[in-house]
C-alpha cells in the first residue's frame, strides 16, 4: 500500500488550452496517506473521474506529477502502477465460478494456489459469499455480482491503492446500505489505501475518514464528515452536503454587521477583512436548515410549504423573495402562517465570493 501524492495537477482535453475554463482539473494538490479511506465527492462533470483516470494511468495529466510513496509514476502505464479498480458495473467472468473469479487476479500474477486458496477464503468470508464460492457467477443477483467485483479488487494484498468508481450505482437502495457498511468494515480489516469516487454524500461520508469535495475542476474542501457538515468552507460544500443543503442567502455588510433583507444577522465570529468589502464582491450568509428555529422574535417569514418526511418536517419559508428551509422535529407551523426565524449564531457563517469569511470564535480556555 502506498502514500499517494498529487502535485500541481492540471488537465485539459484541449490541445492548446488558453484560459482556466479550458481546464477540467485546475491545480490539484493532494496527499493521501498509506492505508487511509478517502472519498472524492462531487457532481457529474466536476472532474473526479478525470482525476481517477490520471491516478490509474489511463490518462496523462497536461501538467503536474503523481507520486506513489515518493516515486514519480506520472508516465507509467496503468499495468505498471499496481492498482485495483472496482467499477460502476460489475466486471466478472460469467462463465467462471465465484471462486475462480476471485482467484483470477492472483492467478494472473502467478501466485501459488495454496496462497490463493487462503486469500480467496478470507475475502469470501469478509464479503459473506463463502456459500456461493462454487456457484457459477452468471446466476448471481446484481448486488452479489458487485460484491464479487469488490472482492476481486481486494483479493491482492500487494496493490498500491484500491479505487472504487461509483460502485453502488446499480444496487437497490435497500441493499446499498448493507454494501456501504460492508465496504467500511472491509477497509478496517484490510487497511489498504482506498479511494472512493461518488456523487452520493452518504456513500462518501460513510466510507471515508477524509472527503475531498470537488466542483468545477477544483477542490473546494478537504475534511472529515463532521467538518464538512458543521463548517463548510465553501458555499458549494454547504449546498452539496446535507439534504436539504445549507440555505445560502444574499447579504450586505455595513460596519462589520451582516444584513439580510434589512435584518441584522449575528454571525459565528468577526468577518475576516477582504477585498470584497471595498470592491463590492458577493457576500452571502450560510445557515443549515437544522440550525434555524421558530421563535417569537427573529426574521419575519411566511410558511410556503410543509413536507412531513416522517422523522421530521422540512418547512419552506419565504422572506421577501427568498426561500429559507427549516427542519423541525415535532409540530410544524401551518402553511400560510406568519413565523419568525431564529438563526443559531454559532452556526451562521458569512461567505465572500463563495469562500468562508468569518472567523471561528476562539475555543474557551
Amino acid at each position: 500500500m502506498a502514500r499517494i501524492t498529487l502535485s500541481q495537477l492540471r488537465h485539459s482535453y484541449l490541445p492548446r488550452p488558453t484560459g482556466p475554463d479550458d481546464y477540467v482539473l485546475k491545480d490539484i494538490d493532494l496527499d493521501w496517506h498509506n492505508g487511509g479511506a478517502y472519498a472524492l465527492l462531487g457532481p457529474s462533470g466536476c472532474g473526479k473521474s478525470t482525476l481517477l483516470n490520471i491516478i490509474s494511468g489511463l490518462l496523462e495529466p497536461s501538467e503536474g506529477r503523481i507520486f506513489f510513496d515518493g516515486r514519480d509514476v506520472t508516465e507509467l502505464p496503468p499495468e505498471q502502477r499496481n492498482i485495483a479498480q472496482v467499477f460502476q458495473f460489475p466486471v466478472i467472468y460469467d462463465t467462471m465460478s465465484v471462486y475462480n473469479n476471485l482467484a483470477f487476479p492472483l492467478r494472473n500474477r502467478g501466485v501459488d494456489e495454496a496462497v490463493i486458496k487462503d486469500r480467496v477464503t478470507k475475502i469470501a468470508e469478509m464479503l459473506d459469499v463463502t456459500e456461493m464460492l462454487q456457484k457459477p457467477a452468471a446466476g448471481l443477483s446484481p448486488d452479489n455480482k458487485q460484491k464479487i467485483s469488490m472482492g476481486r479488487g481486494l483479493v491482492r494484498d500487494d496493490v498500491n491503492v484500491v479505487m472504487f468508481d461509483e460502485p453502488l450505482t446499480v444496487i437497490d437502495p435497500h441493499l446499498k446500505w448493507t454494501l456501504r457498511s460492508k465496504l467500511k468494515e472491509l477497509h478496517q480489516k484490510v487497511r489498504a489505501t482506498m479511494i472512493y469516487v461518488t456523487h452520493d454524500q452518504t456513500e462518501a461520508l460513510t466510507f471515508a475518514d477524509q472527503v475531498v469535495v470537488m466542483e468545477d475542476g477544483q477542490i473546494v474542501q478537504i475534511g472529515t464528515p463532521v467538518e464538512l457538515f458543521e463548517r463548510p468552507t465553501h458555499t458549494f460544500v454547504g449546498h452539496f452536503i446535507g439534504s436539504p443543503g445549507m440555505n445560502i442567502l444574499p447579504c450586505t455588510v455595513q460596519n462589520g454587521q451582516a444584513l439580510f433583507d434589512g435584518h441584522p444577522v449575528v454571525l459565528e465570529g468577526p468577518i475576516v477583512a477582504g477585498p470584497a468589502e471595498q470592491s463590492g464582491g458577493l457576500t452571502q450568509i450560510g445557515i443549515r436548515p437544522e440550525f434555524i428555529t421558530f421563535g417569537e422574535t427573529g426574521v419575519p417569514a411566511t410558511v410556503r410549504k410543509v413536507a412531513d418526511i416522517g422523522r421530521h418536517s422540512v418547512v419552506d419559508t419565504l422572506v421577501g423573495e427568498f426561500i429559507i428551509k427549516v427542519i423541525v422535529e415535532g409540530a410544524a407551523p401551518a402553511q400560510g402562517s406568519a413565523v419568525h426565524l431564529r438563526f443559531d449564531p454559532s452556526k451562521t457563517r458569512l461567505y465572500r465570493d463563495g469562500w468562508i469569511a468569518t472567523k471561528e470564535p476562539e475555543a474557551a480556555e
Binding site: 457532481p43 457529474s44 462533470g45 437497490d172 437502495p173 435497500h174 446500505w177 456501504r180 457498511s181 467500511k184 468494515e185 478496517q188 456523487h199 452520493d200 454524500q201 452518504t202 461520508l205 460513510t206 464528515p225 463532521v226 464538512l228 457538515f229 458543521e230 449546498h239 452539496f240 452536503i241 446535507g242 439534504s243 436539504p244 443543503g245 443549515r288 437544522e290 413536507a307 412531513d308 418526511i309 416522517g310 422523522r311 421530521h312 422540512v314 422535529e329
Partner: protein
Amino acid sequence: MTLELRNITKQVAGVCHIKPTNLLLKPGHFNVLLGETGSGKTSLIKLMAGLDPVADGEILMDGTNITALSTQKRNISLVHQFFVNYPHMTVFDNIASPLKLAGISGSELQGRVEEAADILQIRPLLARRPQELSGGQQQRTALARAIVKQSKAVFLDEPLANLDFKLREELREQLPVLFAGRGAVVVYATSEPEEALLLGGETALISDGRVSQFGPTSELYHRPNDFTSANVFSDPPINAAQITKTGTTAHLNLETSWELSGEAAALRDGVYQVAVRPNHVAPVQTQTACVPLTGTVLVTELSGSDSSAHFSIGEDVWVSLAHGVHSYEIGAAHPFYLDPSKCFYFAADGQRVA
C-alpha cells in the same frame, strides 16, 4: 380524470407477477408506487400504460374501459429511469415529436415546445442533440416531451434514479409544480421511502406483486396496517423483534421491558412482534426515548446530517438513526434508547394490532 384498476392481475408463463390489484388514482397530486426493485412497480405501470396485457381485470379511464386499447390510443405519457430521447433529433424535435404525431404544426407547435422547455429550463438547449447534454438535461428533455402532450395520465418510472443526488433533490421539488393544475393523473414509481414522503400525495406500497396499503403518503408512514407496509416504508429497514406482553408490560428480553399504554395495553397477553423505526431508537436518552437497550455497535454510517449505528442485541440487529454527528466505537457496547410511544405491534399474521 381518474384512472381505476379493478382486480387486475398479470401472469408470466403461468406465474403470478401482479396479484389482484384495485386502485383509484386521482389527479391533483402525485400517486406514488413505493417498493423495492422487483416488487412489481414497473409491471404495474406497464399494465396501466397498455405495454403489457392484463391477465384479468379491467382498467378504466374516467369510467371508460380502456383495457383493450393499445398504448397509442390511451393518451398517456411515459418517462423511464433511463433517459429515452431520439439521438438523431434536436432537443426541439424530441419535445415536438408527440405533437407532430398528433398533427399539430406551425406556431402552435413552436409555442407549446417553447413553453415546455421554459418550464424545464432547457430553452437555451433546444438546438442541441441529446448526446451533447448532461444526464440531467437529457432527463429534462424526456420530461418536457411528457408534459407537452397534455396527456390524461403520466407515468414516471423512477425518473430520477440515474441522476446525481443534488439534481435529484432539485428536480424532485420541481416535478409536483410542473404537473400541478394539469388535470392529469400522475403516477410516480420509486424505491426510496424518503422520496415518496417528499413528493407527498397518495402512495401505494408494493411488495411481492401486491399493494399492501394505499392512502395519503404521510398517513401510511405513520399508521401502517401491517408489518409489510411498515417495512416497505423504512430505509434503513425497520427494527423488529418479539415481545411478550404480560399485563401492561412488554418484555423484550430479561433486561428490557417497558410499560404499554392505549391500544397496546388493551391487547390480550401473549407474544407479539414489535417494530420501531430507526429514528425512534436514539443514541442519547431523551424524555420520549427512554427505554435503555444495550447493544454492541457493528457498523456506523454518516449521511450529510444524520448518523446511524447498527448494533446487535443477542441475535437481533437493530439500527439507530439520529440527527447530527454521533461517534461510536465499533465493537464496543453502547447504550441506545427506544421510544415506546412510537412502537407498532403486530399479531402473528402480520396485521397491526396497536
